[in-house]
């Protein structure tokens, strides 16, 4: 399978690279300058790889990587010099302490938007520098800590410069491999989904807060790892090596190289370690060039050097035509039953004085296609947002399969089998079509798990909507209508108990609308419950078993299509709207 083999490739390449760098490090001339510059680059890169994960994968701005570098370095320095711990024990402590600190910080701030993390991390960075400087009894204060020893590993002595550099490089390769594997793992995809669209991620079953916190924790732990190795490399550390300015330099390294993969971290770090050598003619102005470079990179090269290379030279291949088992939910048969699967009672959502939804009841029968219609502003989408947990209900209850889910967050509702699409398309733009749909297949409550099975399920879903041929493309390259199908495939890959479609035909042309109707018809009658919002009455007529009509946030009619369309209030509401639109 596609992903399994690529994982194997990563591991093989990593193994080869590890041997190569180890060999290179031992054989290469061990003069001081070369060793120093390589050790500096290697240890910094490990920390920068952390930034790649938190910023590049997860889209969160952390401005305190130098603090984590410092925590790792101080754990190693204090552990070995003051407390006589073995190097690797102290290093492990450093990684754990920075990781846990990162998780705590993330816990405090990541429920909120990205700028909160940016701000809190600046504050944290400054506090760490202050503590390192002022807590003289523990940290040795501004003098720093000299004489940090390098380790021995069993019988192998790692004290020599080349051997120690070898150690740093092997760790670096391991971190790079880890970052590459992470990117293709479920967690890595979740991070990227959070980066690209938090709302869609949450309704795809991703716990946004936990994902971000974990990403930040990993970032911090890698900072600690890099810092610990840095301490051993240079045998002396002091607080002024771990200040806010260094944090900015590390961030610039990540951005310059490209935040999409750890290779970017390697490139960016090497460039910025060498750059001061090349930019020497600029004298005092070279930090200004850093600043200018950051702006220029954001504007002209948002994917960094490595992103540029990948974008130009690496073309992904289309999937093979190997047959895949069709979506299992299509194999099921099931008529509309009388069991109520989604039961909404007295639901209200008020925004300040505006009563967007005001005491609506909704009973959706298992296996039915239930349409929710009404004029613009009647509260349909708000209703869907409350049902899926994006909005907190002002009043009323929502029950799914008899269970009260009113208080549950979106990702927990998704686990119970609730999948949805959006009126304004919400796909994960940084990912391929296939990856988008795999995220849907990875829903916690799905009947498949594991990379191969979920990929297979995703391909089946793409087959169903007819997008297999473009599965390898970035989703943003697809035309608008096809992106809607990606959303539907993403929802279907999760084998939902109940599928909520918010205006699936909006923005489609006539032919596409016909195709959409055909697709919905194919979905019907297999036991999957569908709630659909749309303005296209012909579409609704073709597919709906049951219709609920909203107007001004209240339910004005409910029943089978024929009776509802005759309902005088419905006629008035739609005529009223028609008149309004004509005006």
């Amino acid at each position: 399978m596609h992903t399994a083999s690529s994982r194997k490739n990563i591991l093989i390449a990593g193994g080869v690279a590890a041997l190569a760098v180890l060999g290179a490090a031992v054989v290469a001339p061990s003069d001081g300058y070369y060793l120093n510059i390589m050790m500096q680059a290697a240890t910094y890169t490990i920390a920068v790889a952390g930034l790649v994960i938190v910023l590049g994968y997860c889209g969160q701005i952390a401005l305190c990587q130098a603090a984590f570098l410092g925590i790792g370095a101080y754990c190693v320095a204090l552990g070995t010099v003051d407390y006589g711990l073995p190097f690797f024990v102290a290093l492990a402590i450093g990684v754990v302490v920075s990781g846990v600190t990162g998780i705590f910080l993330g816990f405090a701030t990541l429920r909120l938007g990205g700028h909160y993390l940016a701000m809190v991390t600046i504050g944290f960075q400054m506090i760490v520098t202050m503590v390192l400087t002022n807590w003289i009894g523990f940290t040795h204060g501004p003098d720093g800590i000299p004489g940090i020893p390098r380790p021995s590993l069993g019988l192998v002595d790692l004290k020599g410069g080349s051997v120690y550099l070898g150690l740093c490089l092997v760790v670096l390769v391991a971190v790079t491999v880890y970052a590459a594997l992470l990117k293709q793992s479920r967690l890595g995809r979740a991070m990227q989904a959070v980066r690209d669209n938090e709302i869609a991620a949450s309704t795809c079953g991703i716990n946004i807060f936990r994902t971000k916190t974990v990403a930040f924790g990993i970032c911090a732990a890698l900072g600690g790892l890099g810092g610990g190795l840095f301490a051993g490399a240079f045998s002396y550390i002091s607080p002024d090596q771990f200040t806010f300015n260094e944090a900015i330099v590390l961030l610039t390294m990540a951005l310059l190289g490209g935040v999409e993969s750890a290779i970017g971290a390697v490139i960016g770090t090497i460039l910025l370690v060498l750059l001061p050598e090349w930019l020497r003619f600029l004298r005092q102005a070279y930090l200004a060039v850093y600043g200018g470079a950051v702006i220029a990179i954001m504007i002209f090269m948002p994917r960094g050097v490595w992103g540029l290379v990948v974008g130009r030279f690496v073309k992904s291949r289309p999937l093979s035509d190997d047959a895949t088992a069709p979506l299992p939910l299509l194999a099921r048969t099931g008529e509309v039953s009388d069991t109520i699967v989604l039961d909404v009672t007295g639901l209200a959502k008020h925004f300040g004085g505006l009563k967007a939804v005001d005491g609506v009841d909704l009973a959706v029968r298992k296996g039915s296609v239930h349409a929710l219609i009404g004029p613009n502003g009647s509260g349909k989408t708000t209703m869907l947002n409350v049902i899926t947990g994006l909005y907190v209900a002002t009043a009323g209850r929502v029950r799914l399969g008899g269970r009260d889910i009113t208080e549950l967050p979106p990702h927990d509702r998704n686990r119970l089998g609730m999948c949805r699409t959006y009126q304004n398309i919400r796909v994960f733009r940084g990912l391929t079509v296939l990856e988008n749909v795999v995220i849907g297949a990875e829903r916690a409550g799905n009947d498949v798990s594991g990379t191969d099975a979920t990929v297979e399920r995703a391909i089946a879903a793409l087959d169903f909507v007819g997008l297999r041929q473009v599965a390898h493309l970035p989703v943003g390259d697809l035309p608008y209508g096809h992106q809607r199908y990606v959303e539907i495939a993403r929802a279907l890959a999760g084998s939902p108990e109940i599928l909520l479609l918010d205006e699936p035909a909006a923005g489609l042309n006539l032919t596409e609308k016909g195709e959409m109707a055909a697709l919905l018809k194919r979905l019907k009658g297999h036991g999957t419950t569908i709630v659909i919002i749309d303005h296209d009455m012909r579409l609704i007529e073709k597919v709906a078993d049951h219709i609920t009509v909203l107007n001004f946030g209240r339910r004005i009619a409910d029943g089978d299509p024929r009776s509802v369309f005759k309902h005088p209030e419905v006629v008035a509401a739609y005529l009223g709207e028609a008149r309004h639109e004509a005006a």
Binding site: Q40, M130, V177, S235, R280, Q284
Partner: protein, 380 residues
């Protein structure tokens, strides 16, 4: 997947890109002395002065025919004002393999950063960092061309207690390495004189307001304030607020108190204050000559940032002459044998730790003019 194979390639390229940087130059006739200075970053201005000081020393020696018939040559590397930067710059210099000695940093933390490499390099390494502990690590190649902070503290304590007759001391300092160690040394030096400070207070550099500190000084009832702060703006804020809150105590501080910038910032608020400085043009004839030479060449008055570099060059030249060659161990032995060599900063006699100077100058701000008060030297 393609890009991990590239990761190996990427690392390989990295190795290639960095490996051959230290190409050695073909040796020519001159005697080469290396120097790391901040050419970029926040210390660039001081780095410029330091380079000029060393160049004046080189020119002076060469104008007199060089050493052992050879000209001196200065090789400068940028330390970026950072610790990793000086580690790289220093190892580049060492890698050349053709240097006789190296001048490194004024900043104690940077000297610490290269301490390990300096021990391995096997060359005399001169530096200007004043943290007393730098020369306590038993590194035989370290030579300090400035008096360390034990002596500035000694001078402040001696002058304050014995000349000014003050007993109630308030010690204020920056929380950086300079300030913290300076005050630590001062507390030690006050002890034998029977003084325990009534207040010891640190603050971060760059504060907009020091009201809490100044109020604490006022409450402590101190009759003398001693400060260790490297930056002029802190001196300025402190001076203004001490005046505003009516603190009458005498003020004696580290060199920044008498710097031109601080006097510009604080104006009359600094009148009547004392400061200790390792370089002062009035202290001796060499200092006077250096002052004139530097002012002519650079267009501004020299200070501690360049005088030690000038002296270091003269010391190295003298040691080569005495040793009759450039073999590092011979030069080192010659340096240790030098007695009372008059430089711009004072008379150098290196002890076994590599500390060459044990004297400071006390100056006073007399209505906006710095006047030389006295030169205080110690035997040990």
């Amino acid at each position: 997947m393609h890009f991990t194979r590239r990761s190996a390639v990427g690392l390989g390229i990295a190795a290639l890109a960095t490996a051959p940087m230290g190409i050695a130059f073909a040796a020519d006739e001159g005697i080469k002395i290396g120097m790391t200075v901040p050419m970029t970053g926040p210390g660039a201005e001081i780095g410029h002065l330091q380079t000029e000081g060393a160049k004046i020393g080189i020119d002076k020696i060469n104008a007199a025919g060089g050493v052992l018939g050879k000209k001196l040559e200065l090789i400068v590397e940028d330390d970026q004002t950072t610790n990793p930067g000086i580690v790289l710059a220093f190892s580049r210099l060492v890698n050349r393999g053709d240097l006789v000695a190296i001048l490194s940093s004024l900043r104690s933390t940077q000297v610490n950063a290269i301490s390990g490499d300096a021990r391995k390099a096997g060359l005399p390494v001169f530096f200007g960092g004043t943290d007393p502990t730098l020369t306590n690590t038993g590194n035989p190649w370290f030579f300090r061309a400035r008096p360390n902070d034990v002596f500035s503290a000694k001078v402040i304590a001696d002058f304050g207690v014995n000349q000014l007759k003050k007993q109630k001391w308030a010690l204020l300092h920056s929380t950086d390495a300079f300030g913290t160690n300076g005050v630590k040394a001062l507390i030690e030096q006050l002890k034998p004189l029977g003084v325990t400070p009534v207040l010891v207070q640190g603050f971060n550099n760059g504060q907009a307001d020091l009201t809490p500190v100044v109020l604490a000084v006022r409450q402590s009832g101190a009759d003398i304030i001693a400060t260790y702060t490297p930056f002029e703006n802190d001196v300025g804020v402190l001076a203004r607020q001490l005046k505003q809150f009516g603190v009458q105590a005498t003020w004696i501080g580290s060199a920044s108190v008498a710097s031109t910038t601080a006097m510009q910032l604080a104006g009359p608020a600094l009148y009547g204050t004392y400061a200790v400085a390792d370089f002062n043009a009035e202290a001796n004839p060499q200092a006077k000559a250096y002052f004139a030479e530097f002012s002519k060449k650079v267009g501004r008055a020299p200070d501690y940032s360049s005088a030690w570099a000038y002296d270091s060059i003269l010391l190295i030249a003298e040691a080569i002459k005495q040793a009759g060659g450039t073999a590092p161990d011979k030069v080192r032995a010659a340096l240790l044998a030098i007695k009372d060599f008059q430089g711009a900063e004072g008379a150098y006699t290196f002890d076994q730790n590599g500390d060459g100077l044990r004297s400071y100058n006390v100056v006073k701000n007399d209505g906006g003019k710095i006047v030389f008060v006295r030169h205080i030297a110690f035997d040990k």
